[in-house]
Amino acid sequence: MPSGVPIEFTELTKSFGHVQAVSDLSLTVEPGQVTGFLGPNGAGKTTTLRMLLGLVQPTSGSATFGGTPYSKLDSPLATVGASLEAASFHPGRSARNHLAVYAQAAGLPKTAPDAALEKVGLSGYANRRVGGYSLGMRQRLGLAFALLGDPGVLVLDEPINGLDPEGIKWIRLLLRSMAAEGRTVLISSHLLSEVQQTVDDVVIISHGKLVHRGELSSLDVSDSKQVQVNADDKDRLAEVIRAAGFEVSNLRSGVLVENAEAAVIGRLAFEAGIPLTALSQKRTGLEESFLTLVGEEGSL
């Protein structure tokens, strides 16, 4: 079982002309968990990962795998598996040949391509030319490339993009089990909700700068708990709740109560003799604090 090594970024910086794509990024990504690398479009996620993988030369600073830069790794594909957002393949080549090309370059066993295709569920399409693949199949092929050398570290740029619900569930389980085996898993996304159920730890960048780093739960700082409730007689329900001292606002279906617990609101309605048609606790903390962190105009 290949074990993961920590990924270390040290004062990593990249500017494209006047654009400061990544600024002074320092952090460590630990093995044994899934780390989400989050930020809005243009935040610098892809640039950071490309520098980590030796594809883009940093302006200053460094990024290593347990102290070794990618270009100095003895057997890169067997140490780090990566897939980047761009569809990087020749459309006229079959999936099996596509993987064979890189398995040969990296000196991996002949069986590696078929094993990787098996893992991502593309065995039945191995001989089909990649140009005819759907978006989700391309995403899976990218993942097969990452898994080719059975690496201890996985670096995936937007791996969930383009997958159907079943695919999302499948990749979630795969990444969680790989982390549980002690591997290092770093995945990027511009949507917290997309990776919320997958990651243990989050790193958030905005405009190339680190803005938050911690466990997923550390984002849930919002103390505003809301309850959504509905009844046939919506107006009377709102009156009763307001009379009890809560702040109430109208929704299309029912009303929203600020700073409340579902149990309390349910009891109020019961005591007033109003039959409820809906009652649910809302915790909007995560996504909201994510948006606060990346700033209102966070997106570009």
């Binding site: 883009v56 890169p76 090309v101």
Partner: protein, 270 residues
């Protein structure tokens, strides 16, 4: 070992898409058509003894040399496309992930294309000797296939085609845009260079320079082609030794590849 892996990977790249055999088929048909056609014209004219005649002992080599004199554009295209398609389809990303030492990747590609160019050379010669030799034999002219001279010529032709493919790799790294590279190959080989060679052969000093044009160097290496014989200077004017011609081609390939390595191959992949 890493270089061997790189070559194996590049061979798979080349043979797992349709490009190579499409180019090979067009080349063989084109070369066979030119060789067979020229053999028929000269052999037919020669037997009637009016118009331009060639001594029968020069004719076979001239006919067979169409393998390189018109066929060379195909290995150049193969080499250039092998590089530019990596840029076009962004496959440099997985390529450099599998082998981050970019110099090894480029060396592997150059070696692979040398081999592929030699294979193209063999195929082109099968076309030119098959069609041209067949026509000559039909007219009762000695095909010279039993002489050592012709087989030395065959060997030098294969070497020339190998070097042309390597020049294609250099060109691809210099001009990573696929469309631009194809336009340059076709414009230079089909139009600019023939014109330059013809014009340069009119005065002595320009002929001295023109012998270093890749096409002239290739003809020098192979030993005679329709150009050297049709030029006003004739086959007797300035010209490099065969090994000098080979060195000029090799130098062009190396210089282009080294400059391309610095200007495009080493750049950020994003």
């Amino acid at each position: 070992m890493k270089l061997v892996n790189a070559v194996r990977s590049e061979v798979t790249k080349l043979t797992s898409t349709r490009l190579w055999w499409v180019l090979a088929i067009i080349m063989v048909v084109y070369v066979a058509f030119c060789s067979g056609g020229l053999a028929a014209i000269f052999a037919g004219v020669g037997t009637r003894a009016n118009g331009p005649t060639l001594p029968d002992d020069q004719l076979p080599r001239l006919v067979y040399s169409f393998a390189t004199s018109v066929g060379y554009v195909f290995p150049v295209l193969l080499g250039a496309l092998a590089v530019t398609s990596e840029f076009r389809f962004q496959s440099l990303t997985p390529t450099f992930l599998a082998q981050p030492r970019r110099g090894i990747v480029l060396a592997g590609k150059a070696i692979t294309l040398l081999i592929a160019g030699a294979v193209f050379g063999v195929l082109a010669l099968i076309g030119s000797i098959g069609a041209g030799g067949g026509v000559l034999a039909g007219f009762g002219i000695d095909t010279q296939l039993a002489t050592g001279d012709i087989w030395a010529f065959v060997g030098r032709s294969i070497l020339a085609m190998a070097l042309w493919a390597a020049i294609g790799v250099g060109l691809g790294t210099l001009v990573p845009s696929q469309v631009a590279a194809i336009v340059i190959v076709l414009a230079f080989t089909q139009f600019l260079e023939p014109l330059l060679r013809f014009g340069a052969s009119l005065t002595d000093w320009s002929a001295q320079i023109a012998q270093f044009l890749p096409g002239s160097a290739s003809d020098a290496l192979v030993g005679g082609s329709v150009f050297t014989i049709a030029s006003p200077g004739g086959g007797t004017g300035v010209g490099l030794e065969w090994w000098q011609g080979g060195l000029v081609l090799a130098a062009i390939a190396v210089v282009a590849t080294v400059i391309g390595y610095v200007t495009s191959w080493r750049r950020d992949v994003s």
